[in-house]
């Protein structure tokens, strides 16, 4: 039989034995030692008492440790983060490759992209590193866009998330632009007038230049005061023409302006639309007018032919 271990030898094992975590040999050594050593027996007893006290910590209430408030704040933060999480997909379309991104609240970005790198940089601006590619989740949105771009639909029923718009001013511009009917055009000055800031034509143009949601917020329906198409999505003026042609707005293949003499005219909030030669319309600035490429699209928004110029009887030459 081995010698009984000394106080110094058993000391490191006392804690483990009291905690019930010592191996068989250590346990036996401690048991043999404390049988003959009162002070180590007391020591082991105190560790056992301590184990009991410590186990009470699991049940004892902790003063000042109510998690209720922290939990409520956490829920709010998580809801906010969740609503800002972005999923996206990149698709081919008649207008080229298009990035579509959405949050819980709605579609938050549409971008024409030349490469994955440009797509990534757009996303980074939108969502930091938290954008997740999920084509299946965006697929229904994309299908609808395809129907629109193939002239099977004249409107997109997407809910939109405009939280990423740059400013309240831009949001106002986008909201008014979103009201422009299918197949119609208005000028930057017209949009400025409609948001109640007629002097801010340049700011309007700038806001539309950074439209996060082209196509669905139809900035392609906004043109210069002379009828010039001006710009679109950087240098993609060809896409602006393509979208306008799709909607029945006459744009010559080589022209980069719209001829207002070939468009029907509406002055909001009238209930009628006219031919451009009606009354003094031809002298009015484009900022006051909305132009329609076809009677069909004017009537689609509830307008009637003017009772004096009678565009129904005297339509513009197609």
């Amino acid at each position: 039989m081995n010698a009984i271990p000394t106080c110094r030898e058993v000391e490191p094992d006392l804690v483990a034995v009291a905690a019930g975590e010592a191996g068989a040999a250590a346990t036996q050594g401690v048991e043999r030692h404390v049988a003959i050593c009162r002070s180590c027996r007391d020591e082991l007893g105190r560790y056992r008492v301590l184990e009991g006290m410590v186990s009470d910590l699991r049940r004892a209430p902790m003063p000042g440790a109510d998690p209720t408030l922290a939990r409520a704040e956490l829920e709010a933060r998580l809801a906010d983060i969740r609503s800002r999480m972005i999923t996206y997909g990149i698709y081919s379309s008649p207008l080229g490759r298009i990035l579509i991104a959405r949050s819980e609240l709605g579609v938050s970005m549409v971008r024409y992209v030349d490469s994955d790198t440009s797509a990534k940089s757009h996303l980074k601006r939108l969502a930091g590193d938290e954008a997740v590619e999920d084509e299946a989740a965006i697929e229904p949105v994309y299908r609808e866009l395809l129907d629109y771009l193939n002239a099977r639909e004249t409107r997109l029923s997407w809910s939109l998330d405009l939280r990423w718009a740059g400013s309240d001013f831009q949001r106002r511009v986008l909201a008014v632009t979103a009201q422009l009917p299918y197949g119609a055009v208005a000028s930057y000055g017209g949009i400025a007038k409609r948001i109640g800031a007629p002097g801010s034509v340049r700011a309007v143009a700038q806001a539309l230049r950074h439209n996060p949601l082209p196509i669905v917020i139809p900035c392609h329906r906004v043109i210069g005061s002379t009828g010039a198409l001006t710009g679109y999505a950087g240098t993609r003026i060809g896409l602006k023409k393509q979208l306008l042609s799709l909607e029945g707005v006459p744009v010559g293949a080589h022209a980069s302006r719209i001829d207002r003499n070939s468009m029907y005219v509406w002055i909001s909030p009238d209930k009628e639309y006219c031919v451009p030669s009606c009354g003094s319309l031809s002298e009015m600035s484009l900022a006051q007018l909305t132009l329609f490429g076809s009677r069909e699209h004017a009537e689609a928004v509830g307008l009637s032919p003017c009772s004096s110029c009678r565009p129904d009887l005297h339509p513009l030459p197609a």
Partner: protein, 177 residues
């Protein structure tokens, strides 16, 4: 495999673990106010990283690891350790600690132990709390503290020795047993 990122899945994790992580952080930081902030931060980080968590991961141990990391950095960054010590020392002048005489004062004993726990170095405090209060295994504690299970165990035992010693030192009516 990508995790279910619908609100419900993570909601269930918050419901199951927030109160416990909060309680752990009260001890790990020695300050309920810090525990409020850090418990939120723990779950916000967890939410962002959750998608990439392997399906067979131990979510509870993972949350403890995040919380431990945050509280360690918190102390490093703000040098609050000393402040916590000061608070603790102040506490003891008003309230004597001694070996308990019976069940009736068990809660007071918990308060005393909590004061002693607050005075431990961070690793010992965290290891002790994870093991003795939350009953995590040493592997999980080792992962939280970025050390081996063996070291984790050594931290816990060292904490127990110091607490025992602390109760002795404070035993104003210490008698031979």
């Amino acid at each position: 495999m990508v995790r279910d990122m619908t609100g419900d899945a993570f909601e269930a994790i918050v419901a199951a673990h927030h109160a416990e992580i909060h309680r752990y952080l009260v001890r790990a930081t020695s300050r309920p106010g810090d525990a409020d902030d850090l418990s939120q931060e723990t779950f916000v980080r967890a939410y962002k990283a959750y998608r990439a968590l392997p399906p067979d991961a131990n979510v509870r141990a993972w949350l403890f690891a995040i919380a431990t990391n945050l509280s360690r950095n918190h102390f490093r960054a703000e040098g609050r350790r000393r402040q916590a010590m000061a608070v603790m020392a102040g506490g003891f002048t008003e309230q004597s600690a001694s070996w308990p005489e019976g069940e009736a004062i068990a809660n007071q004993a918990s308060v005393r132990i909590d004061h002693l726990v607050a005075s431990l170095p961070f690793k010992q405090r965290a290891a002790f709390t994870m093991r003795k209060v939350h009953e995590l295994d040493y592997d999980a504690i080792g992962q939280s503290l970025e050390c081996s299970a063996e070291s984790a165990r050594a931290h816990v035992f060292q904490a127990l020795r110091k607490i025992r010693q602390g109760l002795d030192d404070l035993d104003v009516v210490h008698t031979e047993r």
